[in-house]
């Protein structure tokens, strides 16, 4: 490292951009699916979940990256897990204090961020071998890639399942119920989240042929 890289060099920006599309954690790497199914019934918990994952992943990436030369390889998984677990407990406590209703809706899923494969995956694959700033961007990028899918799925599930967007009764306001429309109860159930994610994957791969597996 002779020359200092600019903070937002093309290489660093790529770290932010790629997880949003070509290496999206959910649609391309198919990680973190279980929480994506569970919290996407409504928009609000999905957004809170996305922000929580972003906070945890970014900070965990930075912490592990700072420690990367001091972490003994033999216990690195435990160290990563401890960092993640501590951050998740912090997020959970903060939600309980400042967003009690949302934390009750998310209930067990905040705790389950610990087992979200995206986190361990990023720490192991990226933060252990890179400097803090790129690690931070990588964390933000991957969490955003995860979050954006969460929000897209939640938008459709809430709109079609309960006829609302962020709790605002859209369908009622435009009078859709008067012409015989009824909410689709299936959208509220987890299988529909999987199908929605499947549709997103389909759309993404038909637009970007490189992502299609050849075997």
């Amino acid at each position: 490292m002779s020359e200092r890289e600019p903070l937002f060099s093309p290489k660093n920006l790529k770290l932010l951009r790629e997880p949003l599309s070509t290496s999206n954690p959910i649609t391309v790497q198919v990680l973190g699916i279980c929480s994506a199914l569970a919290v996407t019934v409504k928009l609000e918990p999905s957004v809170v979940m996305a922000i929580s994952v972003m906070a945890v992943l970014a900070v965990a990436n930075v912490v592990v990256s700072f420690l990367r030369n001091y972490i003994p390889p033999r216990i690195r998984i435990i160290v990563q897990l401890t960092v993640i677990a501590a951050l998740v407990i912090l997020v959970d406590q903060i939600l309980k204090a400042f967003a009690y209703d949302v934390s009750k809706q998310l209930s067990v899923f905040v705790g389950l961020i610990i087992t979200n494969c995206i986190l361990m995956g990023r720490l192991e694959a990226f933060a252990l071998g890179n400097r803090p700033w790129p690690s931070f961007l990588d964390g933000i990028g991957n969490a955003a890639g995860y979050g954006i899918i969460l929000i897209i799925v939640a938008f459709f599930r809430e709109l079609l399942g309960s006829g609302t967007v962020w709790g605002y009764p859209v369908f009622e306001k435009i009078g859709l119920y008067n012409v015989g429309y009824e909410n689709n109860g299936l959208m509220i159930l987890p299988p529909m989240a999987l199908i929605t994610v499947g549709i997103i994957i389909w759309v993404q791969r038909s637009k970007n042929k490189e992502l299609i597996e050849t075997n």
């Binding site: 003994p72 390889p73 216990i75 401890t82 903060i94 309980k96 204090a97």
Partner: protein, 275 residues
């Protein structure tokens, strides 16, 4: 990759764990008052919901002050417990006392029936004192029970709200039940849970399950019947039963036992109020 000695690994983990522990305890200490306040607000909302008043976390305090005119704590003999705040009663501890009394009562019966014990106790100590001891113990527990009562005044009628707590399938369930001034008719009920199965046991916190409790009676001809939660549906017109949740048998049964156990502690209070 660098090689680290075992000593380094031990020191590293020890230091890291200590730092993490310190950070977490600090956060927990700092956030506890805000979290407790949230729980208190939720409690208020639940109490209000049991007398069919809707509230949000913002107006809960205000509405609680307006409608809940009095709250106090009594023991199992309906005598008031001085200086105890109804809100700060540890229901978990109180409900475990019900089991303690049950256990002791079983012992009392056992002692009457088992000839072997009779035989042995004839040698060791007199049966009478043993029985006396247990009876005293039960009385002691009953005297020290802390049973909160909330009195609500809404539209010129008085309602009595009683907290409930019991066991579901995976963890605790709790709720509030409100009675009309006749101490017989249920005015409303709310239930909540910690970890019941979503879609099955967790349905106890939905309105469709809670609504049928309204108007049910807990006494028949002066005898305490409580409210049954019936698998397969309550018979039409049954004043003492509601429908159970299909697939949520153990949680439904938990609700039934919870209502029976918790309300039976209030029986002397009901008698007193009826007079």
């Amino acid at each position: 990759m660098k090689n680290f000695s075992n000593t380094y690994i031990f020191v590293f983990s020890a230091v890291m764990v200590t730092i993490v522990a310190a950070v977490l305890s600090f956060a927990s200490l700092k956030l506890k008052p805000i979290q407790d306040n949230n729980i208190r607000l939720e409690q208020m909302q639940n109490i209000l919901a049991s007398v069919n008043i809707e509230s949000t976390s913002k107006d809960a305090t205000e509405k609680f002050r307006k409608y809940i005119v009095e709250s106090y704590v009594i023991n199992s003999n309906a005598e008031p417990q001085q200086g105890v705040d109804a809100f700060s009663v540890d229901l978990k501890k109180e409900v475990s006392k019900i089991d303690e009394v049950k256990l002791l009562s079983d012992k009392l019966v056992e002692q009457k029936e088992s000839p072997f014990k009779k035989f042995v106790s004839g040698f060791t100590k007199s049966k009478q004192t043993d029985k006396q001891k247990i009876t005293n113990e039960i009385a002691d527990i009953n005297n020290s029970r802390k049973l909160p009562v909330y009195i609500c005044n809404k539209d010129d009628s008085t309602y009595y709200v009683f907290p409930l707590r019991g066991k579901g399938l995976w963890g605790p369930i709790w709720g509030y039940i409100s009675l009309k001034a006749d101490m017989n008719t249920v005015y409303g009920a709310v239930f909540d849970h910690k970890t019941e199965t979503p879609g099955l046991g967790a349905e106890i916190k939905e309105t469709w399950f809670q609504k049928p409790f309204q108007g049910k009676k807990i006494f028949e001809d002066g005898r305490f019947t409580s409210i049954k939660v019936m698998k397969g549906g309550a018979p039409k017109g049954d004043m003492h039963a509601v429908d159970a949740i299909s697939g949520g048998t153990i949680t439904s049964r938990g609700v039934e036992y919870m209502i029976q156990d918790c309300l039976s502690s209030y029986l002397p209070f009901f008698e007193q109020q009826k007079k």
